[in-house]
């Protein structure tokens, strides 16, 4: 992981603090999240305090600080989904996975993220698991959806 971040940093020679966000994006693309170790590496490279980088990164929704699970679950909380009850959907997903948004399950199978709109309003309320959309979910269907993924792993 350390080497991967090192490789990314080498693509930004003489970078200043204006390169911070592109670097963080590359790091997240490469290792899936912003680990503490990677933030420290970036901080040393840009000669910028780690607290500042953490401050910037937490400002944006796009950055995560925990390792994503094998299946990354995105619950849409856009307008159309909201109208059709996505608050309840999120609650149910949290209950089913026993994690809060931004967290990963203990078995590292699922991670949960809340997004503003994934552009599938016709399918509301919608959740996406590793890019695969599940349309018009209900409190009942949620459990069977996750059960299917769990079965794959047995």
């Amino acid at each position: 992981m350390k080497i991967k971040v090192e490789e990314i940093l080498q693509q930004y020679p003489q970078a200043g603090r204006d390169s911070l966000i592109p670097i963080l994006q590359s790091v997240q693309d490469s290792i899936g999240y912003l680990s503490e170790e990677s933030v420290v590496q970036v901080s040393r490279y840009l000669k910028m305090p780690a607290s500042k980088i953490f401050g910037v990164a937490t400002f944006y929704n796009q950055f995560r600080f925990t390792q994503p699970g094998k299946y990354h679950v995105m619950v849409c909380r856009g307008t159309a989904c909201h109208v059709l009850g996505s608050a309840t959907v999120l609650e149910e997903v949290e209950k089913c996975l026993k994690v809060k948004p931004g967290q990963t399950t203990k078995d590292r199978l699922f991670s949960l993220e809340v997004v503003a709109c994934i552009g599938a309003c016709g399918l509301a309320p919608v959740i996406s698991i590793n890019g695969e959309f599940h349309a018009k979910v209900t409190t009942e269907s949620i459990h069977s959806i996750f059960e299917t993924y769990r079965q794959k792993e047995v």
């Binding site: 420290v40 305090p49 780690a50 607290s51 953490f54 401050g55 937490t58 400002f59 944006y60």
Partner: protein, 573 residues
Amino acid sequence: MDLNIEVNNNVLSARPGDTILDALNRIGMKVPTLCHLKGLLPTGSCRMCVVEVEGRKNLVTACSEPVTNGMKIKTHSARVIESRKTIVELLLSNHPDDCLYCERNGSCELQKLAEDLHVRERRISGNKNNYRLDVSSASLVRDPAKCILCGRCVRVCEEIEGVSAIEFVGRGSKTFIGTSFNHGLNLSTCVNCGQCIMVCPTGALKEKPHIDEIRTKLADPAKTVVIHYAPSITISLAEEFGFKPGQNIGGIINAALRRIGFNYVFDTSFSADLTIMEEASELVHRITTGGTLPMITSCCPGWVKYAEEFQHEILPNLSSCKSPQQMMGAVIKSYFAEVEGINPADIYSVSVMPCTAKKFEQQREEMTQNGISDVDAVLTTRELARLIRLFGIDMDNIDPELADSPLGTRSSAGKIFGVSGGVMEAAIRSAHYFITGKELLKFQVNAVRGLAGRKEAKIVIDGLEIGVAVVSGLKNAEILMEEVKNGRNDIHFIEVMACPGGCINGGGQPIGTNEESLRARMKSLYEIDEHDAIKVSHKNPYIIELYDKFLGKPLGHKSHHLLHTKYQVRDVN
């Protein structure tokens, strides 16, 4: 050429380049501020200082708007007052509202604003902030629930101290001030200087309290409780009790501490003299034997931790001397214990410091002898005031007393440690004597006096030119260290203090410390120096006795064991 501005229908003059706030303050008009910090660039984020400017649709922030000729300003129109009041009401809407239990009750800026703006009913009520206390640090306690996000601590930490231990985390209504990855302050780069406390408008930041533990020990008959106070305490505590800023109340403090029940009262200025004996000897030794130069002072624990974190290359340049607090602690539990026939384990040693970083220094593992801490507890100036009030001491009607012997007598060189440049001046006085065997004709070294963040001078001792530099505020130290690392070699001795102006502006000093009180405190210390008979550390009779009877000579075996320390590289982010 002065500009004319019209304030509330009065024509007044302002200087070009002034902000509206500068201009108003100069002509004696007050506009409330929250995020504004004198000396730093304005951010205009709190909107507390808004005023009405004719021709402008929106209200304008006085702290960031430059004045122009003919500008017509209304500082207290109905619209302005309503706007300010709403801001305070919004800030209060999610505030814990536990003023009666709050450390800053009575010295809180938010409380004052609410009072000044006549906020007398709860018009807006929101969800109360709910964050965990951060008690991880040895020196500071952080309560993000009371934070109103003015950002002054973040700015001081970054722009004055160059540390950036804290930052805004998150966004919108969920923003809070936190450390990197939300670790406790103890795992951050925080150097414990406490400047964040000094600028915090509310009770979100305070020192880690040691009062309760001290009270327990005071009540324990098996313990000999010894206390000593730093040079700047006698002139800064005055303000807490309504004396005029800078008034020296050392004698009253001695008496008060005895009434509280401390068995022995000593003066840390004594061990400041001791520090000078060791440090000036070390400097002379380094210069004459080709040791690592420039030598840098090590009496400021904020600076020491900063160097351990950010300036690994210059750690060999740090003087190996312990700070006066730790030297005093070591001497109390060795020499004093021996003289009085007390088991060092039965001594409870308390120091009063203008500093929060001293609480960290006190618990460093290097600061122990045979598993016994040199110093057991540290009170800030503010805590001492609280302790005095708790014990019902009437500071106005108590007769001054002298400190105890043998560790209560000082030279005035030890006393000026409290101000930036003081350690340097005291060291020069003794170094001159150590090199030439003669005293300086004029003790005053004006070039290193004053509140400037950086002072430099060339001192000639017996044909030997010594370059000295004095910096306060760690950002200034960082800049100087970069110069040294880049090959600057005309400086031989550097004094660094983490707090701007030195200990008189320490993180443990009374809340509300401002430039005026700083100047009064500085003046007072130099006046003491002016009037005292003994102006050099090596002439302090009790220091001479300490070396004769116990320590041997400066840098000797016993000194090395008790009074010197070593540093560690710290890997923190």
